[in-house]
Symmetry: C2
Subunit: 144 residues, 2 copies
Amino acid sequence: MFELDPRLSADTYFVGSTALSSVLLMNDARYPWLILVPERQSVTEAFDLLEADQAALWQESMRLGAFMKRHFRADKLNIASLGNQVAQLHIHHIVRFHHDLAWPGPVWGIGVAVPYAEAEAERCLSALREALAHELPLLSPIQS
Amino acid sequence: MFELDPRLSADTYFVGSTALSSVLLMNDARYPWLILVPERQSVTEAFDLLEADQAALWQESMRLGAFMKRHFRADKLNIASLGNQVAQLHIHHIVRFHHDLAWPGPVWGIGVAVPYAEAEAERCLSALREALAHELPLLSPIQS
């Protein structure tokens, strides 16, 4: 039985599910920032997943990253699994712009998160769900 | 024709090659830190690689990460492609310990790199090459 880590839950909005993962929107309006959480219990490292799940996670991550770069016209994507503070395996996908606050450094440890206003979060989630629904390979079952 | 980015070259030692990538040791004795650089020209995002190369990179990254966790008895692996400062695609694999300098934050932006003493670097490279040579799947051609 998969349960989302309470801290991930508190820091994000739920966008939708893929074949393998929950897609979460980080509640930080400074950066378009999505997180993939494979819905598998008690896994902290990607290489501890079953091989088929590893392959599915990589495919989902690559598709999500490519989508975000295009959709947000990003200068760069940052993709990372750190997991020092939240052990549950989760992969960050962060849109970076040359003009963003932390550029060219990583986003972590720079200032504090700016939560979305409620209406802004709703608008953002709707737009993401609509755009992702057209990314059929992401939201339909992954072929193994 | 693949050429390693000059900044990556200046900041690292060359460990060896896999089927797809150069393996580099970051010249920072504070953390065991290896970098995979797919030997493909002008690629900045993993999702811009050909599909077969994407799959090979993921396999190499997972095998390297699992090796490092075991070899260094890491508490956690941090795996990340950022590329804000060096555009050439490269994937960081950083061994983290609960007692390291930056824990539980990411390593970037915390203090400055501590270069290896020459003898220490040689010892470290020899040990890594020997250990990785036994990781046959990593250093032999990847099956597609």
